[in-house]
């Protein structure tokens, strides 16, 4: 639903160099996510991964190229080329990996299954005069992965698992190294960002001739855990202007940055002259982070004249910069928020309906009264008798209705009706897709005016409180009060912050730090 962000630096005869591995979340790009099941992360500068096959943690970096196949019959085949080495240059890895992902979509969910078509991998380790070569055996790589994605109105959520087993020969006939791995992934994707967190457990087993003790066998086992998270966040920052004689005091800058982190722990043997030391283990942990250079885009400056000094001034100005409100001259912060305008704001902020064109066009539209020219071509169906295809907010209302976020009654949407707090809260909980997380019906919320909460809004108000979207006012939630335009702006900004920051914290820090 939300498009995965890929950036390609160079195209070389059909093969592209992946400079920013945004290992994506949308259907059929799950194959891309497999590139990091090898415990690696990337920025726009480099790719890094950690391998344990030699019995010590080796941090390798270098180039990852990806050749993306075309989707055909709900399947896509991608090939990944790795060329990595460590900082000292005495460890080198080459790997070529071809994966095919097939997709089944039922209702609002997509199930992807990925299989391994082909892989070759060679790791060489040169220490002094000793050179070890690990070669992945033919047909000795078992791999299975499956991910389910739940497409909600404003957010896609996904979860998946995989397991695999790789067997390497060591110096052709000196022994074998077996790497077993099991991993899980969980994440989300929406207009304001995305996060994927993976937890991978390794079990390593090696049986080889000792390099130094003639004829003796060197046997060891080890474990490792790699935790990594890939995050992309779109943020808004207010930038004030220094000089006073300027037509606007400041404006908002939209930045977008990828922040990919990897943390690993290991329990491996200790070696002395190449031989395993009895009763001693090499245990430790480390982590690193790769950041992309943030992209920047200045947003149009809001010139609303009736919000100066208002408590919600920043919230209103921020949303106005995003083109959420039609009239950018007067806002009317204390007026009730109409249902239709809230539907439009939500649809734009979550990209259910893409923002209407370039900035110049936005300003032109914003300065004028809403007209039917802002609407797209009429859709075939007219869900509400009071929102005809010529209605200025037609496309937004149709979209939020289609996604189950807002509905009306008796074939009417009541576009000019004042939005209540209960309606606003219910709408955002539905947009997030959290409605199914509510307790079994018949419970009470903690609000003192619980009995005033409409029955259809109880779950949403409970959940919004649980997730910190609302806190109430001295114990009251005032569910049936009309939400003012200023309150709606503040609420929508809180919603954006939840998407930008709270979800990231839930999916990254709270998953990694608790494991």
């Amino acid at each position: 639903m939300v498009k995965t962000v890929w950036r390609w630096a160079t195209v070389l005869g059909g093969v592209v160099i992946l400079t920013t591995v945004w290992l994506g979340l949308s259907p059929l790009v799950a194959g891309a996510a497999l590139a990091v099941y090898e415990s690696g992360i990337a920025s726009d500068q480099e790719y890094r991964e950690v391998v344990f096959i030699t019995g010590e943690p080796l941090l390798l970096s270098g180039e990852l190229k990806v050749s993306l196949g075309r989707e055909k019959n709900n399947a896509v085949t991608n090939t990944y080329y790795y060329k990595l080495s460590n900082a000292a240059g005495d460890v080198k890895l080459t790997r070529r990996l071809t994966l095919t992902t097939t997709r089944e979509t039922t209702r609002q969910q997509t199930v992807e299954v990925t299989r391994l078509d082909k892989i070759t991998e060679t790791i060489t380790v040169t220490r002094g005069k000793v050179k070890d070569t690990y070669v992945l055996k033919d047909n000795a790589y078992q791999f299975h992965k499956s991910v389910v994605t739940d497409h909600q109105a404003a957010v896609d959520y996904f979860s998946g698992n995989w397991n695999g087993r790789k067997v390497y020969t060591i110096n052709k006939d000196e022994g074998e190294a077996v790497v077993e791995l099991t991993g899980s992934t969980v994440g989300y994707s929406h207009y304001w960002g995305s996060t994927e967190t993976q937890l991978v457990d390794y079990y390593l087993e090696t049986d080889r001739l000792s390099a130094t003790s003639g004829g003796a066998r060197n046997r060891w086992t080890g474990t490792a855990q790699v935790k990594l998270a890939l995050n992309r966040t779109k943020d808004l920052t207010y930038v004030p202007n220094e000089p006073t004689p300027i037509s606007f005091r400041g404006g908002y800058l939209q930045t977008e940055q990828e922040e990919n982190v990897l943390q690993y722990t290991y329990d491996l043997p200790c070696f002395s002259d190449g031989a395993v030391m009895s009763g001693r283990r090499n245990q430790g942990e480390d982590s690193f982070k790769l950041l992309s250079v943030p992209t920047q885009k200045r947003l149009p400056v809001a010139t609303i004249r009736d919000i100066g000094g208002h408590w919600a001034e920043d919230d209103i100005a921020r949303l106005a910069s995003l083109g959420v409100f039609q009239d950018t001259t007067y806002f009317g912060p204390t007026l009730p928020m109409p249902r239709a305008e809230f539907a439009r704001a939500l649809a734009l902020l979550t990209n259910m309906v893409p923002a209407p064109g370039p900035a110049v066009k936005q300003i032109t539209l914003a300065a004028s009264k809403p007209t039917s020219s802002a609407s797209p071509a009429p859709a075939a169906a007219v869900p509400f008798v009071d929102v005809p295809p010529g209605h200025p907010y037609y496309q937004y209302i149709v979209e939020v209705e289609k996604r189950g976020v807002m509905q009306g009654a008796s074939n009417c949407f009541f576009p000019d009706g004042a939005l209540t707090r209960a309606e606003a809260v219910t709408t955002l909980i539905r947009a997030l897709g959290f409605a199914g997380l509510a307790p079994a019906t018949g419970y009470r919320t903690t609000y003192l005016d619980d009995t005033e909460i409409p029955i259809w809004a109880v779950d949403a108000i409970y959940l919004a409180t649980e997730f910190g979207l609302i806190q109430g006012d001295r114990g009251y939630v005032y569910p049936n009060e009309r939400m003012t335009r200023a309150e709606a702006a503040a609420f929508l900004n809180r919603f954006i912050t939840f998407l930008q920051r709270d979800l990231k914290e839930h999916y990254r820090e709270r998953v990694i730090y608790q494991h």
Binding site: L262, R281, P294, Q407, R430, T441
Partner: protein, 490 residues
Amino acid sequence: MRRIIAVVFIMLGVIGWLWPYSPAPTVAAVNSPLLGSAVMLPNSNPGYIPPHSKVRYGRVTAIDLADNRLVITGPAGTEEFTLEDSILVTKENQVVDLNRLRLGDWVKVQFSDIYTDTPSRLGIEGKDRQITALYKGQLANVWPLRGEIVLREVEQYGHTKWTKAEDLLKLAVDPTTEIYRQGQRISLTELNATRAGTEVFAAVSNHFGQRRVVKLLVSPGYDRSFYDRIDDIDWASARLVLAGREFSFDDGTIILGNQRLLDPAALQEDQAALVVGTQTENGYQVAAIVVEQVAAPRLQIYRGEVYDVTSDSFALEDYEELDDNEWDGHRRHKFFLTERTKIIDSRETNRAAITVPLNEFVDSQYEQDPDGSDEGRNTVYPYAYVVADGNVALAINVRDSVDSKWERVSTGRVVAVDEGAQQITLDLVKDWSAYYNKWQINPALNYLQVNRAVLVKNGRAIDLTDLLPGEQLYFVRDNVQATVVLVQED
């Protein structure tokens, strides 16, 4: 009957558009007489949630295990919970005792009921959240759009002193960073507006290998540091007295203890602390408070006369237990032996300790005083130091009964381990002072001899090879010779 069924279907149809998927106009919904029927929909377990699925996150601001009370402050505000003994506590994927919980820890509190304040699970986040450094320096650059600041003339706090650090230090700042000036929280953009020459204090954590500011305070002015015990504290007026001076603190004050950010409520009278403040006409305004406390070890350390050895147990009589870093005498304590109980005999002062196999220790039961005032006293291993987890002996160090005036209870950080020499190089050493009732800095002690000591880590006796640089130790020593070394569980 059919008529009744038809009515029910009609009712459910109306309910269907009202609930739960249709926020219809409020008036219609609220005034609908059918809503009452919706409330009555049959449900055998109203309010049911899957076990552990109600969750709160936050920083621990108060713990009272004696009163089963836990207070956390998080996105949902400050909440108080009641703890039960049955609660499952985990830390970094391991089940741990509740006493591993520290003030300032970040926790995930889980409930199996929406109405209860008694959690079913408690997950403690590990060292990823800890404060790894406290810096002060001048702001050289503030880059709100990159989320970074650069400090110059940087000093780092350590062990009650500020020492020169990097010339220039770049630190990450993100939206979760708390930035304060004069008690008010400000944005990074606002900090940028007054950055020139501004001195700041920054509490920093390791965020996946990157130094990230968790809390930053614009210095109130020229500062002085004082290290002493807190004589008096008044939370209502946010003032404390230390070293004969009065200090005021506010929301912006950086309070650290055990590498964690603390709330003012965690401060206690008689606590040893370093306070950094700026003198004003109304006393000192505090920038930072570092509580130089040492967490009590989870395991217990005893010493006493060995009695009544059996194949499963033994006892200490006229024993002493290390309680709040001081020996406290008692009558008798029985300990159980396990296959893992590590026993050493370190009575020979001119050589390394020898390991005593468990069966040899058990067989010494036949060498006990048969009668008289010492009935049951073990004559082979008459006196020992014991590290125990409850009643289970984890390690026993047989020694002569000594009352050395050089014995100290100390803490320190492992810098390096020399297995050959059986020595640990230490820094940040503190000794407990019973006289001053506080930890005293000991800059003179920089190594520890451990060839006659038992070492315990994660509830098991270990070898020196299992010790890692950076680990915090709590140990009993006689001059530089250690008797018992515990690796602190953070």
